[in-house]
C-alpha cells in the first residue's frame, strides 16, 4: 500500500538524485551541462475532479526529475483506483531516466576520450593535412553522438559499438 512514509522516502531519494545529477551534469558540456532537452515526460495534473496526463515536450533530465517529484507528491491525494496508473507511469519514466543517464555516462566517457585525442593531435608527427583530417573525424564523431542524444537517445545502445571502434582506431593512430 502507498503510505505517506513511502512517498516521503521516495521523494527524499529522488531529491538526492536530482542533486547528484546536477553535480555530475556540469561535465556534460556536449549536452549543455545537462540542460539539453532529451526526454519526454508525463506531467500529472490533479484537481479535485479529475487527473490529467499531460505529455510534455522534451525536457532536460533535471527538469524531468522535478516533474517526477511533483507527480509523486500528487499520488497520495489521488483516489486509490487511479494511483496504480500513476505509479505505473512514474515507474516507467523513472526506468527511462535511469537508462538515459546510463547511456549518457557511457557516451560521456567516449566523448572525453575523443577530446583527449583531439588535444594530442598537435603533438604527433603528421602533416597538417593529416592532423586536420583526424580532427575532423573527432569533431564529426562528437557531433554525431550529440545528435543521437538529441534525437533518439535510447538508440545509443545500438550505436555505441561504432563509436567505441572509431575511438579505438583513433587511439591507435594518434597515441601508439
Amino acid at each position: 500500500m502507498i503510505s505517506t512514509e513511502n512517498i516521503a522516502e521516495m521523494t527524499k531519494k529522488l531529491e538526492k538524485l536530482k542533486e547528484k545529477i546536477r553535480e555530475e551534469s556540469i561535465d556534460w558540456w556536449w549536452l549543455d551541462q545537462g540542460d539539453a532537452a532529451l526526454i519526454n515526460i508525463t506531467k500529472i495534473e490533479y484537481d479535485k475532479k479529475e487527473v490529467k496526463y499531460v505529455k510534455m515536450p522534451k525536457v532536460s533530465i533535471k527538469t524531468a526529475i522535478t516533474i517526477l517529484l511533483n507527480n509523486l507528491k500528487n499520488v497520495y491525494n489521488i483516489s486509490k483506483g487511479k494511483r496504480i496508473q500513476i505509479m505505473s507511469i512514474i515507474n516507467e519514466e523513472l526506468n527511462e531516466l535511469l537508462k538515459l543517464v546510463e547511456n549518457i555516462r557511457e557516451a560521456h566517457k567516449i566523448v572525453e576520450e575523443l577530446e583527449y585525442l583531439d588535444k594530442m593531435i598537435n603533438s604527433i608527427d603528421r602533416t597538417e593535412e593529416e592532423k586536420a583530417e583526424l580532427k575532423k573525424i573527432i569533431k564529426g564523431s562528437i557531433n554525431w553522438i550529440k545528435e543521437i542524444f538529441y534525437i533518439k537517445p535510447f538508440e545509443w545502445g545500438k550505436r555505441k559499438e561504432t563509436f567505441k571502434n572509431v575511438t579505438k582506431k583513433l587511439n591507435k593512430t594518434i597515441i601508439e
Binding site: 555530475e24 505509479m87 505505473s88 515507474n91 526506468n95 543517464v101 546510463e102 555516462r105
Partner: protein, 273 residues
C-alpha cells in the same frame, strides 16, 4: 493418528521401494553386461539399504511412528525420482552416493525431524543443480499429492503444509503470467479442483503471501517481479488490468517496491557502484 494416513504411507513406502529396486536391478544388469562387477556390487549394497527403509513399529510411540513413516516416505519419493530422472544422465556411482547420503539422513536420527530432513535433502539435491531442483520439486509433489488425494489436506503435518506452500509458490514463480488459475494448479499438481481450491484457501489464510481472488492465485513476490519486468521490458500490459482488478493493493505495493529499486539502481549508478 489416522488409520488412513498410516496405511497410505505404508503402501507408498512399499510401492516406492519396489519401484526403486526394479531400477537398481536394471542398472545392475547394465553393469554386469559391461563386466563392471565393482558397480554391480555397489548397487547390491544400495538395494539392501533401500530394502531396510521402513520404520519398525516397535521402536516408536504411535505418533513418532507416523512421523517416521512420513520421513521414510518423503526420502523414498526423492530416491525414486532421482533414479527415474537421473539414471540415464548421471553416472551410477554419483547416483549411488547421493542415495546413500539421503538414506543415512533418515537412518541417522532425522526420521523424527521431518522438516530438518526435508531441508537436508533439498541441500543435497541442490548439489545436482537444475536436475536436483527438479527432483526435489517432483519428489515433494508426489509425496504431498499421495497424502492429500488419499486422506485429505488435513493429514499433512505443519512441515508438510510448508512444503506444499513452497511447491505452489515455486509453481507460480515458474509461469510467465503474474498469476495462475486454480485449474492450472490442479493440472500441474495432480490434485482435484475442489480439493485444490480448499487447500489454496487454507494456505492463503495461513500464509498471507499467497493471494487468492476468485479462481486466481498469486504471490506478492511474483507480482513484484512481474511488474519489474513489465517496466523494464515494456511487455504487454493486458495482465496489469487483471491484476488491478484482483489484487489492487499488492499491485500498488509492487509499484512502490519497483520504484524504490529503480531509485536505488539510479543512486548506485551515480555513485559508480
Amino acid at each position: 493418528m489416522s488409520m488412513c494416513l498410516r496405511k497410505t504411507l505404508e503402501a507408498f513406502i512399499r510401492h516406492k521401494r519396489s519401484t526403486i529396486n526394479e531400477w537398481i536391478l536394471e542398472l545392475k544388469r547394465q553393469a554386469l553386461i559391461n563386466l563392471d562387477t565393482t558397480t554391480a556390487n555397489m548397487l547390491t549394497e544400495l538395494e539392501n539399504q533401500v530394502g531396510t527403509l521402513m520404520p519398525l513399529k516397535t521402536r516408536y510411540s504411535p505418533n513418532e511412528y507416523i512421523t517416521a513413516l512420513r520421513s521414510h516416505a518423503l526420502i523414498l519419493s526423492y530416491l525414486s525420482e532421482l533414479l527415474e530422472t537421473a539414471k540415464n544422465i548421471l553416472p551410477p556411482d554419483m547416483i549411488r552416493e547421493v542415495m546413500l547420503r539421503m538414506i543415512s539422513l533418515v537412518k541417522g536420527g532425522l526420521s523424527l525431524d521431518f522438516g530438518g530432513m526435508a531441508i537436508q535433502c533439498k541441500n543435497l539435491l541442490q548439489g545436482l543443480q537444475e536436475l536436483g531442483n527438479q527432483i526435489f520439486a517432483e519428489g515433494t509433489r508426489k509425496y504431498l499429492v499421495t497424502i492429500i488425494e488419499s486422506c485429505g489436506f488435513e493429514e499433512l503435518s505443519k512441515e508438510g503444509e510448508f512444503l506444499l506452500r513452497e511447491s505452489i509458490a515455486s509453481l507460480i514463480q515458474s509461469i510467465e503470467k503474474p498469476y495462475i488459475t486454480i485449474e492450472e494448479i490442479c493440472m500441474k499438481m495432480g490434485i482435484k479442483e475442489k480439493q485444490t481450491k480448499k487447500i489454496i484457501k487454507k494456505l492463503s489464510n495461513l500464509y498471507p503471501e499467497i493471494l487468492l481472488r476468485n479462481d486466481i492465485v498469486s504471490t506478492r513476490q511474483k507480482i513484484e517481479l512481474w511488474i519489474e519486468n513489465v517496466i523494464k521490458e515494456k511487455i504487454s500490459e493486458d495482465e496489469v488490468h487483471k491484476l488491478k482488478e484482483l489484487f489492487p493493493e499488492q499491485l500498488e505495493t509492487a509499484y512502490i517496491t519497483s520504484a524504490k529499486k529503480l531509485t536505488k539502481m539510479f543512486n548506485n549508478l551515480l555513485e559508480g557502484e
